[in-house]
Symmetry: C2
Subunit: 255 residues, 2 copies
DNA sequence: TTGACCGTTCGACCATGTCGAACCCACGGC
DNA sequence: GCCGTGGGTTCGACATGGTCGAACGGTCAA
């Protein structure tokens, strides 16, 4: 019976919509967005509520994501070998570089952050685990795109979004950058996603030498770059060494 | 049509099983556990894979949770008002107490950790957001149980598990403790979950004065307790003040 | 080779989910 | 006050769409 199960597909679509839409949504609202009859959507919601994947505000009647979904989703991290192996090394990268560290994987042409170590000072920082970053405007993303077999092909569906004046929006320019990333073995993003913010990243490879993730640091341009706005070479080394260590932990042959 | 949708219920069961079972699982394994025919389970898995909720190892053929599920689940936190409002206050609680801070809600008779601030030193700590704690053996849990309308009634399904010699395993004893928690307005756990570990917590209430969560700190017994193994009163005050501040932020009338 | 086990495909039956119509609220304009 | 419009929810007949026994191709150990 090679054919997906309709009701499950629809339930997933409902969940995705509830996740993207910032706020709680009503049955009618969801039904309109999915172009489905109201009772159909309601049946799905009722079931999702039963299993705890969505919750309903008793007063407004609107729906939002449920705690059970959150808990189940977070146990994805336990099974994620990349993250498990990388825990120690990312900590030490954070203390060597004195910057915040992130580890990401490619997911639907974006970077899914699976681990995040705060900068080792006591400043307030927001946890970004589970967040998605644009792949063309972050160092993590460039590293992942550069080695991805599918690579840029998916990207041409929609134009590259400009986040700052420095964001690469031209496909050919990006392609050149990725070629450079492949050759150098690391990537940078200098104020391409957020003004004043810089990030550096290097690839993590598994035993088959396939790039399965990327590790990198990010911080203000004053600390990560020299006076010519070039990434500091010592930090680049730290990142590359961390990436290599994690790769070795995953069974990769040092390259 | 008041009746849950079978296939969605089953899909949820599959996901729950994949989340609890530490490792990747095969079709046959899942089918046996759920007492369903193999092709049925396979159909569900195929659909879940299509939407990215599960992934399949290309070599072993076994299944594990997928990245999409993780990302959707993590956006539960955005819509969680409790967590959003509590961010600032938990940070300052962490720096005042110099201990790690956690915020939790009751979920299926356990404590779901929705926020976690590391202890403000540079030690290595594991992120516990998304984890579940036993409610009878943690300060957070006691606070939540004490004010829960359903409360202990659910607990008598299965006996209280002993984690350490100090864990409260007797229902009557727990009931007395909860009464005390209600009166004092805060709860403690002295080596009841982990040897040498102590936690303190206080309730967070919303505008209707309903307890919607709890905030607390945890750390080694030497730092959190005095020589009589009693929680330090200054730390208790910090925790209670933080809880009250968050409650006020949620619209509660100071009690 | 054999057998046991795996993940996967096939296809017919009929249980199951679907969706138009109708219901009951809470609002808000008239 | 009344009706109209919107919300979330229930009903029920129809047929779509999911289910599961049987069978297929693969891998591994004996």
């Amino acid at each position: 019976m090679p054919g997906p199960i309709q009701s499950i597909e629809r339930a997933a679509a409902v969940l995705r919509l509830l996740a993207s839409g910032a706020r709680r949504m009503g049955v009618a609202e969801l039904a309109r967005a999915l172009e489905l009859p109201k009772p159909t959507v309601h049946g799905i919601l009722r079931t999702l509520q039963l299993v705890g994947f969505v919750e309903q505000s008793p007063d407004t009647g609107k729906y939002q994501l449920g705690a059970a979904l959150f808990h189940i989703g977070s146990s994805y991290l336990d099974g994620n070998e990349l993250r498990t192996r990388a825990l120690n090394w990312s900590d030490s990268l954070a203390s060597r570089s004195m910057e915040s560290v992130r580890i990401g994987t490619l997911h639907e042409n974006q970077v899914l952050v699976v681990h995040h170590v705060f900068r080792p000072d006591n400043s307030r920082q927001v946890l970004e685990v589970g967040a998605l970053l644009p792949s063309h405007a972050s160092a993590l993303g460039k590293v992942l795109l550069a080695d991805d077999p599918v690579g840029l092909s998916l990207a041409d569906d929609e134009p590259l979004k400009a986040y700052t004046p420095a964001t690469i929006t031209d496909l050919d320019a990006l392609s050149d950058t990725l070629e450079q990333v492949r050759q150098r073995g690391w990537a940078s993003d200098v104020e391409e996603l957020v003004d004043g913010e810089v990030s550096l990243a290097a690839p993590i490879r598994d035993r088959r030498a396939v790039t399965v993730g990327a590790v990198g640091i990010s911080g203000p341009v004053e600390r990560l770059c020299d006076e010519k706005k070039q990434p500091r070479t010592d930090l680049v080394s730290y990142v590359r060494e961390a990436a290599r260590s994690i790769s070795r932990e995953l069974g990769a042959i040092p390259w």
